[in-house]
Amino acid sequence: MKSTTLSFLVRVPSAAWVVLLLMFIFTTVSGRYLTVGNIVNIIDQNSMLLIVALGATLVLLSEGIDLSSGSVLSLSGVTCVYVMKYLMLSGTSNTIAMFAGVLVGLLTGVVMGAITGALIAISKLPPFIATLGMMGVAGALSLVAANSSAIYINNPVFVFFGSKLDRYIDWPLMGYVSVPTFIAAIVFVAVWIVLYYTSFGRYIIAIGGNESGARLSGVDIIRWKWAIYVMSGLLASLGGIILAARIEAADSIVGVGWEFDAIAAAILGGTSFVKGKGGIAGTVLGVLVIGVARNGLNVIGMPTLWVPALTGTIVILAIVFEVMLSRWKERNRWVRQGLR
């Protein structure tokens, strides 16, 4: 090894460099970029994406892929709001309607995930096909349920999921933390515990790394593979519910493209398609790359219609950078092994 500084620089995930670079560029271009308010805004806006991307990361770690998360996100938002609105119209209290709606929304994600999971784990369909199919089905169902548009909801209790914490807790700094961010943080910790401290989490890595080996070690592949997609569905639906609460409406096509963002965030964070390589800490950085790019382009006044195309370009360039860097690291690891 040449120097510890170099190895430290290399060890910092590439996504972190991309985030810093983007922030530097946007700061130079616009004086309004680097403000506390905007940073808080970026974190708040991307909390839902983080939740969905954590699910995508788990799926990728098992050498699978979930293309249905965007559609499941839309559908869950729609079913949640639909049930809530129905109950409110029939005179149920706001609170109970809210709980029922959220429950139905989460259940939607679990059911959809359970179906794709069963197709993959039991029927042995390739994850790409099974989730692509579910992407179509869930997307169409959400159009049907919402009658091709959006359902507006006016429930003061439900708004909780989209607001800032200072509305509920009278502590200093709570104005900077939104409920979505708070939930995302809890979900992150929960997924962290699942991934590193439960058998389920370790089995995900084992299945991704060597499925037949895991089977021969007595791991119940069918059950755990199924559970991975249930988990991904659950997290996608949670994202959808929060999103619905923020805009006080369920939009039947709100989730279009989210599956790409979620998978891209995982890959930017160093999770690979093969062998169970990666982890969820990097996914946070991956989400930040996407969030910072999108927000920055808006702040510097890029025409709204251009923003998605440019964000996509930045994300793809960042992925190329990440892939090349990790390849370089890999090469050098063998060299280092030779040295040892």
């Binding site: 439960t198 790394g209 169970g276």
Partner: protein
Amino acid sequence: MLQARGITKKFPGVTALDKVDFDLLSGEVHILLGENGAGKSTLIKVLSGAFAPDGGEVFIDGQKVEHFDPRVAQHLAVSVIYQELNLAPYLNVAENIFLGRYPKKYGLIDHARMHTEAAAALRSLNMNVDTHSLVIELTTAQQQMVEIAKALMTRSKILIMDEPTSSLSARETEQLFATIHKLTAQGIGIIYISHRLQELHEVGDRVTVLRDGQFIGCKKIDEVTVDELVGMMVGHSVDETFGHDFGPRGAECLRVENLCSGKRLQDVSISLHFGEIVGLAGLVGSGRTDLARAIFGVDRYDSGTIVLFGKEMKNFNASDMVDLGVSLIPEDRKVQGLALILPIAENIVVSSLDRLFPRFFVGRQKEKEIAMQYVEKLRIATPSTARLAQFLSGGNQQKVVLAKWLCTKAKIFIFDEPTRGIDVGAKAEIHGFMNELVRQGAAVMMISSELPEVIGMSDRVYVMREGRIVVELPHTETTQERIIHFAMGADEASRRKGGRTATDMDHATSSAPSQATGEGPGLAK
């Protein structure tokens, strides 16, 4: 402790096992021997519960086993260490050892306890490796030790090892044997499958020979010679001569000068002439495969020159080399040499499509005819050229790879471990083809870990160690002892009069990147 009576297993069209008997005593190493396709793998799959037999019974500790599956096997203390290791690369050593039965505390994995117990298990195998390191960072030998530790963790009484030494260097093999002896001393019974005849007497107590799914015989290893065993395996005796005539060689076709590539190749200079076979010997990881890959344009190198047919090569890739008539028959034919899910015919013509079909469209009839020529010429045992490569035996797969290169009209053939894992009969055939190539004027470079093969086939032998060419030996001076001497650095040890201790040697051997892992990223791309 284990008894199998009259085991029969049928697959569509084939009887893989026909009333085979087998038994294992505690504390013995029972070797299972046979050519590829003789039924060894099927037998161990039946004994470990991966396959249900169509007939016969298995008894463990006198109890008849019903409804055998991997979980039952674990319960009954039977563990298999397969050739393709069953470890998860991005889990650490301890997590792999405990995979499937993690110790828990408050419902969560108890990492502290897991690492303590894993470390203790590894220490009992005299293995010194950090339980926190990821499996992907270990050498193949270390990974194998992790597998053994994993098996012992389940309190296995019966250990089945499928060709454990096939990717180990000589030194690592020695360590493995030491571990095996330690285990048998504790009363563990080991079923050991191997193709390396030399090691049988070193490790085994009894040996059972299978042929074509039939039980041929079971002997005490001390009462039988290698030649007798080979005779039992093949049914007829195979002469150990390689049929290579050490004739005069032609003009120089390839020269490598001062090739350097990181730590893997250091100042390597070799030459290759038409009409000769040049052997490349050395330990696994000594740089032999790296050299072949650099010459073939697969891996880039830092400095040095490669001169092909008198012309210096610059900025070339594998595709250029193929066009110029160079071929590489790689070590791992299943991954690097063949498209397993394609038919034989397509595998044979795939590298010659531009030459055979210059007008872009591929003619199926012509493809089939050309493939048929090679199938006949190389005696590839297959009912048709439409059969998928994955259904061929190892020897026949190797012949298909060879056919592919013959079809490109290659003039230089680089073989990397041409006969690894293929049976005795097919080995002799492959050697015959190599001799034939040379007689017709082609040049052959052969990387091999089988010393009898290196000595019997090579006009000259280069011995590599730690990325360097240590010595060049003409065929008149090659003996197993000499090659091992140079390959393992014994010459330096004696020259320095003990200045290099045994631990230094240990270090030197293990420091070379293992080929199996070292080339992982190359394969992946």
